[in-house]
């Protein structure tokens, strides 16, 4: 009997060595350790042995049983690990196949740039003031110091409407007058606003010119607003927009509603000022027209120019967006081709 036990023990251990999956492990268990398993049956037959052999055999049989259960448990763990590894391998995907699209919405690039402008200017206390698209000649030109037939009007080709003296605004500047009237309380309150909005020009539509585009104009009026403040404020804006190391250039220029007037250039951020196609090899990009508010414009807004002063600037968000992303055709903006919009 003891011999039989020992041979079953070694046979079952050898068999366990060959078990590689849970199915054959289960079969092994039934064969040796199940209710009718050979080892179980041997154990059960202890009673049939002569009494003097019983103790010895029983002790060994229990030992064998425990050893086999241990071996089984160890094997089970191994098999489980192997099987998991196999499963994971078989479940592997081609990770290079494309994922399921989850089409996102998105803001129009002009809105994105306008928001960026508004956010930066808001931090400097400039709030958004919006005004109408269809304007009178008076607000768009005369109150801004463009007399009728003045050559300065040649700078802006105008869409006239069939209603005399009603035009599509050529600039957001008429909003300066409207803001002064609405917020200035008869020239007694300081003002700090930006005026974003669509403006219209009588132009042929080409890759470089459009009949409508956004402008963001800024206006600050106070008792102590100076050209140095204009320079400093726009410089702060440019740092936020183009990075801390940005370099600006201020050039004398002319707008009827400013005196002095100036153009502001930023060092080309594409070539670092070395000269490239975008900056036409000059190293500079125009970012804003600006100046001190003309005394006549202050007066037209209800302010006494001897004690109030102000600055104004105007920027083109589409142009800025084009420069930033290397967009070569301004017609993309109102073409609304989804293949363009989806790139933002």
């Amino acid at each position: 009997m003891l011999n039989q036990l020992e041979s079953q023990y070694s046979e079952s251990l050898a068999a366990l060595e060959n078990v590689t999956d849970s199915e054959s492990l289960h079969a092994w268990e039934i064969k040796y350790l199940g209710k009718k398993g050979s080892v179980t049956l041997l154990l059960r037959s202890t009673g049939q042995l002569p009494a003097e052999e019983r103790a010895n055999f029983g002790k060994r049989a229990n030992e064998v049983k425990n050893l086999l259960f241990e071996a089984y448990a160890a094997r089970e763990k191994l098999v489980a690990e192997q099987e998991l590894a196999l499963d994971l391998e078989e479940g592997a995907l081609d990770v290079t196949l494309p994922g399921r699209e989850r089409p996102a919405g998105g803001l129009h690039p002009s809105t994105q740039t306008l928001r960026q402008y508004a956010e930066i200017w808001a931090e400097m206390g400039f709030q958004v003031y919006r005004s109408r698209d269809v304007e009178t000649d008076e607000y768009n030109f005369q109150l801004l110091n463009f007399p009728p037939h003045h050559p300065a009007r040649d700078m802006q080709d105008t869409f006239h409407t069939t209603e005399p003296n009603v035009i599509l605004r050529t600039q957001t500047s008429p909003g300066q007058i409207r803001a002064m009237h609405e917020l200035g309380e008869n020239g007694t309150q300081p003002i700090r606003v930006i005026l974003p909005g669509m403006v219209y020009r009588y132009e042929q539509i080409t890759s470089r010119s459009e009949v409508q585009f956004n402008q963001v104009e800024g206006l600050a009026i106070g008792h102590n607003i100076r050209m140095s403040d204009l320079k400093g404020t726009v410089t702060e804006f440019a740092k936020r927009m183009y990075g801390d190391n940005v370099r600006l250039r201020f050039r004398a220029s002319y707008f009827p509603f400013t005196e002095p007037g100036m153009e502001i250039d930023v060092e080309c951020f594409l070539c670092g000022g070395e000269g490239c196609r975008v900056c036409k090899y000059a190293g500079w990009l125009e970012i804003a027209g600006s100046g001190m508010v003309h005394p006549n414009v202050l007066r037209n807004g209800g302010y006494d120019p001897t004690i109030w002063s102000g600055f104004a600037f105007g920027m083109g968000p589409e142009r800025a967006t084009m420069l930033k992303h290397g967009i070569r055709d301004i017609r993309y903006f109102w073409g609304n081709d989804l293949r363009f919009l989806e790139q933002f």
């Binding site: 109408r132 300081p190 001190m292 081709d337």
Partner: protein, 851 residues
């Protein structure tokens, strides 16, 4: 405007590199757009960048001034000659050339004086004169019809000066020429292309730019002489002037020169005109043009004898007046023009001679036979000139200047300088005196500048002395008195305001800042008090609307706001009536037939976008926020309400390689889901939908949205007829157009958050059979009403038609949620309310509980 540096140097000494000068001019407001080099090398200045020029630089060792001492015939060729050139070397160089302008000197022996030509030595780089394409070449030795040749005499084309290759360059004798000079020093030049803003009218001439250069470099100006030698009979009695509109023609000046010879201008004059883009014509006409470019005062020359003939024995009278109805004039550009009442004219007793300040008439122009010339220098109102240029479509160099404004002081200077140059080049005799009528005197502009104003405007102070120095550099006359500068404006400037002290001071401060340099003014942060801030609710809510729609997955578009009433009419199927709107804001000068008016609806923008996109994108889910424009009776300016448009079409989901169910095309309920999500996002309640009757929409698949009692807009499927009209038939087009102003006005500043329930809900389903025409909203309203406080939620989860439901009826199944905040509900309580609901739908809707 083209500014040749060689010409500029007549009036001001320039001792800095031209690239630096161009930068200084640009910063001072005279923007130099480009620099063109003629033969001289491009300069490089640290920190200043100009595009690299690829012009031909004339080799200082190999391209030299040559004196042609003799022209010999070529032994083997009739069409070639041998030019014997002294280029400063030990021996004469023999150049074989076919230049036709040397043939008249052939075999005439030694030439004394010599012909001055451009000599290119062996190895010199020039442009290939025989190539149609620009091509450079290096001179190499080569025999021409048996005669060895290694050098040449050059044409303008070979030097890159023009396309002229008819003959070689032959220079007129002038002091200082000597054989062997580098040709760079004789013909080399640099042209600055200067762009002038309207306030810089005074700079519209070489002298005008020279004054700015002088001021920037702090150099003196060297003006040309305005003296003239008059030896003829006095002009008085030979012509008179009658100015009828002094406001439009403040000044008119005449001088007379007799016995002129009409001939080509001297070479220096021709070259300068060519450099500024003018074609030389003859000595008299060229001088009128030259003065226009030199000092900015346009001149006009009449054939005096033709005027005399028209006066028929009487003394010619120049009359300036407005045109009368029906008058016509044939101008020098051979256009016969009908004159308008605002056109100011130069006339005589027999009729119209020319447009004042713009263009002459053909009849009295200078001809090769002209003997006696009457020279006009006049002044004109710039606003009026601009009007006539626009209405008559005239663009001339004179008009370009007068329409920007020329000071009347320049008229007499122009005539004095012009008549003397005519004398020098035509051999005529100038009549003594001038006729100068100046009825509308331009007042001298004087401004008192308080020094404290400079700091108030610029943010940096200058002493009276410093400020005065900057102004004097610009030829202002300045007298300092304590902290005030008494400033008198030079007589060529019209841009300094004299009648408004604040503006006048600002004008002067700009001049100080320009010369000082804007870049040198410090950068400061606004120290002024922050203005009162305000809540910008319409904008904030608009931006929130955008964010919600983007979060739902829609793309924002921005479209042209210009369209045409004809395009928008296509939105209404024929026979149906358009929604009552205001009128159109129509353009008087549209740019194209599809952009003649401001839009009334976003539908037109969205459908056009959808059409443009459908070739590439079957699935489109977009929105647009923008204005529409309604002209109203009795209102000068239109209403500009804000609208929100949504368009969805194509597959609900994008297709992919996994072949997932794409879910079909979007339909009404997709669009409604977006609208509902938006309204939830805006925390709007009391929302209702009713069938809509908008003609652009499918009558059975569109809804009128209301919030409370306010109508917000229409959403639904595009009417199939409209879809066909716009060629959008691939899939249903779902669109919405909402009144964004009305919608956002209803948004509350705050909304309350409900506490989270602490007791478990009791869930029950109910299925109700109602007649087909009973709207779901009515069923839900009855359930909510009957459910009372305990019913916390109702949601439809099934709509079923068919067996065993009788035809004409439908079953609506709802999940009902019962809950109270205080305690766990007892079954009997729920059963009681549930029963009440069943009774209510039976009673009020004739509904049955589905078994």
């Amino acid at each position: 405007m083209q500014v040749p540096v060689s010409w500029l140097k007549d009036y001001v000494d320039i001792d800095i590199p031209i690239e630096l000068l161009a930068e200084r001019l640009t910063l001072a407001g005279l923007e130099v757009g480009s620099i063109h080099y003629i033969g001289v090398p491009q300069g490089h200045v640290e920190g200043i960048r100009w595009p690299t020029s690829n012009h031909l630089v004339w080799d200082r060792e190999k391209l030299l001034l040559g004196a042609v001492r003799e022209v010999k015939s070529h032994p083997n060729a009739d069409k070639l000659v041998l030019a014997m050139v002294d280029y400063g070397g030990a021996d004469l160089e023999q150049c074989v050339t076919g230049a036709p302008n040397l043939f008249e000197y052939k075999d005439k022996g030694a030439l004394n004086p010599p012909l001055w030509a451009v000599f290119a030595a062996e190895g010199a780089e020039v442009w290939d004169g025989h190539s149609d394409e620009p091509k450079r070449m290096i001179l190499k030795e080569k025999a021409l019809r048996g005669i060895p040749n290694r050098s040449m005499v050059c044409s303008e084309k070979e030097l890159g000066m023009s396309e002229d290759h008819e003959g070689i360059i032959l220079l007129e004798e002038q002091p200082g020429l000597r054989p062997g000079m580098p040709i760079q020093d004789v013909l080399g030049d640099i042209i600055l292309e200067v762009e002038l803003t309207p306030n810089l009218a005074r700079c519209y001439s070489i002298i005008g730019v020279a004054r700015e250069v002088a001021a920037l470099l702090d150099k003196p100006m060297c003006y040309p002489s305005y003296e003239f030698v008059a030896e003829g009979a006095p002009i008085a009695g030979q012509v008179q002037i009658d100015i009828r509109e002094p406001d439009l023609n403040p000044r008119f000046t005449l001088s007379l020169i007799r016995d002129v010879t009409i001939k080509p201008s001297p070479q220096w004059l021709q070259r300068r005109l060519k450099l500024v883009g003018q074609r030389p014509i003859n000595n008299i006409v060229d001088i009128t043009n030259y003065i226009t470019f030199e000092i900015g005062q346009p001149l006009h020359a009449f054939d005096y004898d033709k005027l005399a003939a028209r006066a028929a024995g009487k003394m010619p009278t120049i009359i300036t007046r407005l045109a009368t109805a029906g008058e016509t004039l044939e101008t020098l550009d051979e256009v016969k023009r009908t004159l308008e009442p605002h056109n100011i004219l130069v006339c005589d007793t027999a009729g119209v001679l020319s447009f004042g300040g713009l263009i002459g008439g053909a009849e009295t122009e200078i001809s090769p036979e002209t003997k006696n010339v009457l020279l006009e220098g006049a002044n004109w109102n710039f606003i009026n000139i601009r009007r006539t240029m626009q209405s008559q479509k005239i663009q001339t160099d004179a008009g370009a200047r007068f329409s920007r404004g020329v000071h009347p002081s320049q008229a007499i200077l122009g005539v004095q300088r012009g008549i003397e140059l005519m004398r020098q080049t035509s051999g005529g005799i100038i009549a003594k005196g001038m006729i100068d009528t100046y009825p509308k005197q331009q007042p001298t502009v004087k401004v008192d500048l308080a020094i404290s104003e400079i700091e108030r405007l610029l943010g940096m102070g200058f002493t009276a002395d410093e400020a005065a120095k900057f102004l004097r550099r610009l030829e202002f006359d300045v007298k300092a008195e304590g902290e005030t500068l008494h400033v008198t404006t030079p007589d060529y400037r019209l841009d300094i305001t004299g009648d408004d002290p604040v503006t006048g001071q600002a004008d002067l401060i700009e001049e100080i800042a320009r010369i000082y340099g804007y870049d040198n003014i410090p950068d400061t942060i606004i120290a002024d008090a922050m203005p009162p801030q305000w809540a910008n609710i319409p904008l904030e809510r608009e931006e929130r609307t955008r964010d919600i729609l983007v979060a739902i997955g829609l793309r924002e578009t921005i479209s042209y706001r210009l369209t045409s009433p004809e395009r928008e009419a296509l939105l209404i199927p024929s026979g149906m009536e358009a929604p009552k709107n205001g009128g159109y804001v129509e353009l008087a000068n549209p740019i194209s037939a599809d952009k003649t008016a401001m839009r009334h609806t976003l539908l037109i923008s969205m459908l056009e976008n959808a059409f443009n996109n459908q070739r590439y994108n079957a699935r489109q889910q977009i929105f647009e926020i923008g204005n529409v424009y309604f002209k109203r009776e009795g209102q000068l300016l239109p209403d500009e309400p804000r609208r929100l448009g949504i368009l969805m079409t194509g597959p609900r989901r994008t297709s992919n390689w996994l072949k997932d169910d794409a879910g079909g095309n979007v339909d009404f309920y997709d669009l409604k889901g977006v609208v509902e999500e938006l309204l939830v996002g805006l925390h709007l309640s009391d929302v209702s939908y009713a069938r809509a009757s908008h003609p652009s929409f499918h009558p059975g698949r569109s809804a009128q949205l209301s919030v409370g009692k306010t109508e917000i807009g229409t959403l639904g499927e595009l009417h199939p007829i409209v879809a066909r009209t716009f060629d959008l038939t691939a899939a249903p087009i779902l669109v919405a157009e909402l009144d964004l102003d009305a919608l956002l006005d209803l948004v509350q500043d705050r909304h309350e958050v409900k506490p989270l329930p602490i007791t478990p809900p009791v869930l029950q389903d109910i299925a109700i059979v109602v007649n087909e025409e009973t709207p779901a909203a009515a069923v839900e309203a009855v359930i909510v009403q009957a459910g009372g406080d305990l019913l916390k939620g109702v949601s439809l989860f099934d709509v079923y038609r068919g067996d065993p439901i009788p035809t004409g009826q439908k079953s609506l199944a709802y999940n009902l949620v019962y809950q109270t905040d205080e305690r766990t509900l007892k079954d009997e309580e729920v059963a009681r309310v549930h029963k009440r609901i069943v009774k209510a739908v039976e009673r009020e809707l004739g509904a049955k509980l589905r078994a």
